[in-house]
Symmetry: C2
């Protein structure tokens, strides 16, 4: 078919597309408490050290380490108990030679102290005297000021996706608002004269829109803001009008066109009318998803996905997700986590083409088995029955039963 004369591999296609995209996201400030999943716009530096004061890491007695030198169960050191460090306040004692103070985990070390003896290694001899049964070195059981973080230190690099740990770190430093990348607005244009909205009863020959909703979910998960432009009729004028509106208002435009050649051609022509450089890739060497179009128009990525719901979701997971991550300025690219499994059956594939196959996980005697979920035509419930996808690389000629596979969960 002439439209697929030059099929490129998925990594090549992605590389070409990303190479044309701006790297710099737009900033916005949000409350840190609501920032999970957002990506930092700039590096975050510590306004003060953490901990901000020397803290005990155990329950015990604050001491001068030198005073415990040589202490043992058979030959304890005896220290005078001069007080107790209150939690959350400055100690009102100051340790002199031969003195100690009761301290709790997290308590502030009193002046003069340089170590803490765990309570298990002490005995109270008399009300005002503590037997130290084990020697401690300077700094033992103590967190020094700045041991976690120094003042002015970069604690979260730019382009970091904020997780629970980073949210906690921001709070520890009193950073209750944080600058993050604005979510890229992703326009979703569904099309097809046979497609009706889900709340409508389809007439004969009609089907309900699926792709708008699977892609909305995908975009949200990747960190983008989906905007639906509805179902566009299969006419050049309607396509162009909707696409121009979408391109003006959004950062990314995603078409999910019908599956017939004529509608795909309509998508391709529309995309090329939107601005330079236009189509970069037309046809990717992957199944499902061959008729994918990747373009950049007026500086914005425009992606034409196949109309088949399974293809749209699988290919969207490859290209739309990565485009959103690029526009967010995500710096550290971690591998997609997966579940290791063994293939339950032989799986054929065409050498030279990358295949993605839906599988269901079943617990076997030695770990998980991945059972391919076959569906003649890749309808939506084929995918709903799958736990995840496995990739058959282009260089493989299928995979034998028992092969180790990595199941990327859907």
């Amino acid at each position: 078919m002439p439209e697929f004369l030059e099929l490129v591999s998925p990594p090549e296609a992605l590389h070409t597309l990303l190479g044309h995209l701006p790297a710099q996201p737009q900033p916005e400030e949000v409350e840190s408490v609501h920032a999970a999943g957002r990506v930092t716009y700039a590096a975050v530096t510590a306004p003060h050290a953490l901990p901000a004061f020397p803290r005990s890491t155990v329950d015990g007695y604050a001491v001068r380490a030198a005073d415990t030198h040589g202490a043992s169960e058979s030959l304890p050191a005896y220290l005078s108990l001069i007080g107790e460090v209150p939690m959350g306040a400055q100690p009102d004692v100051r340790l002199g030679r031969g003195e100690c103070a009761l301290i709790h985990t997290g308590g502030m070390l009193p002046e003069g102290a340089d170590a803490v003896v765990m309570i298990e290694h002490t005995q109270q001899a008399r009300p005002e005297e503590i037997e130290i049964l084990r020697a401690v070195g300077v700094g033992e059981n103590v967190l020094k000021t700045g041991e976690d973080v120094q003042r002015g230190e970069e604690v979260i690099p730019a382009g970091t996706r904020l997780r629970a740990a980073e949210i906690g770190g921001l709070m520890a430093l009193g950073i209750t608002r944080v600058r993050v990348a604005r979510r890229p607005r992703v326009a979703i244009l569904s099309s097809g004269d046979e497609v009706v909205p889900p709340d409508q009863q389809p007439g004969p020959g009609q089907v309900r829109d699926v792709n708008t909703y699977t892609l909305q979910t995908l975009v949200t998960q990747a960190g983008g803001e989906p905007l639906s432009y509805g179902i566009i009729p299969d006419r050049a004028e309607a396509f162009r009008t909707a696409a121009e509106r979408a391109l003006a208002a959004c950062d990314v435009v995603v078409f999910t066109a019908g599956s017939s050649v004529s509608v795909r051609d309509l998508t391709a022509r529309t995309i090329d009318s939107l601005g330079e450089p236009g189509t970069l890739v037309h046809g990717v060497n992957v199944r499902p998803g061959k008729p994918t179009i990747l373009a950049v128009c007026a500086g914005k990525p425009v992606i034409g996905l196949p109309g088949n719901p399974v293809s749209a979701l699988v290919i969207g997971g490859i290209f739309v997700t990565r485009v959103i991550e690029r526009l967010l300025g995500l710096q550290r690219e971690l591998p997609r986590p997966a579940v290791p499994a063994r293939l339950s059956v032989n799986l054929a594939s065409v050498s030279g083409r990358e295949d993605w196959v839906g599988v269901r996980l079943r617990r076997g005697p030695e770990g998980y088995l991945a059972e391919p979920v076959f569906g003649k035509s890749n309808l939506i419930f084929t995918l709903a029955r799958a736990d995840g996808l496995i990739r058959i690389p282009a260089e493989a000629n299928g995979l034998p039963a028992g092969a180790r596979v990595e199941v990327v969960l859907l």
Copy 2:
């Protein structure tokens, strides 16, 4: 230490806790378009078949398969072209013997047709005549009515976490509202006389609250609704009053207590005053997280997490997450996806105790290396520097450099 006389393993502890929990969640109805991540309360059955009519899976000509019998490039079959099937409408033609109709991918098969010949295997001989260059069998290139889903078929089991694919499937069936499990309300009670809110400047000896915010994020990710009960002063009366309010209003109560023994004892006593059966597990054989308390009071799970932010988050990921999943009625438990890597250094551990160690991933010549992120005291930025966690099983005596590990991303 007497409080940890009977340490149990994490799986044992979890099993004990889950065994005391109610299995039946509360239902609520939500719009399907906003249902991603929610868990189905009841099985979803198909109100009609999918596809609802026989559809072509290719661009080509609808035919009676018998009319193409024996057709080949050298000896084509000639069929009369009687029309074109419009997209999204009932075909206005009916195929008789020796007739064919132009049809597009997704188009409805006209009456009388039982297969489709791909356009690539045809030639238009004259305006009203098509040469068929390849024979097709009955049903070829056709999706039968109900081939994806039969009317009345269970398409999504109860207790399924809805992903993009299921949202798409619901839409395809016109199910725009769906009954899901109500999000369990999870009360988070922080405590510690030294703890102040993040927007407050800590005085000497004070630190900002971290655990409330890391746990909120964790609870939200697991599918629960976090409710913060603020920072409770370290006094029995304050503890009990807050805990009783939380238990009355929420489905789960999570304490994150200070790290000193006295505060942990206060938590334990408070929990035991809340109702039967009270504490089930006090002390888990895991690092970090030994001083964990698991309880059920008045039919509701109550969890006492260690005050250390790293411990609270790691242990929360084990116990709080699983409790929420249980209360959601999640049925199919999939393994946590992970990134396979090799350990960069020898890692010691105490045999007989499960250890969780934060690691950072680095791309090596043969896949990923997992580099332990060491922090003397498990402060929050220790964890923020980690990409994920590896588990050293209780039966292991540490792990050697080069060992294969599974990194669970944070």
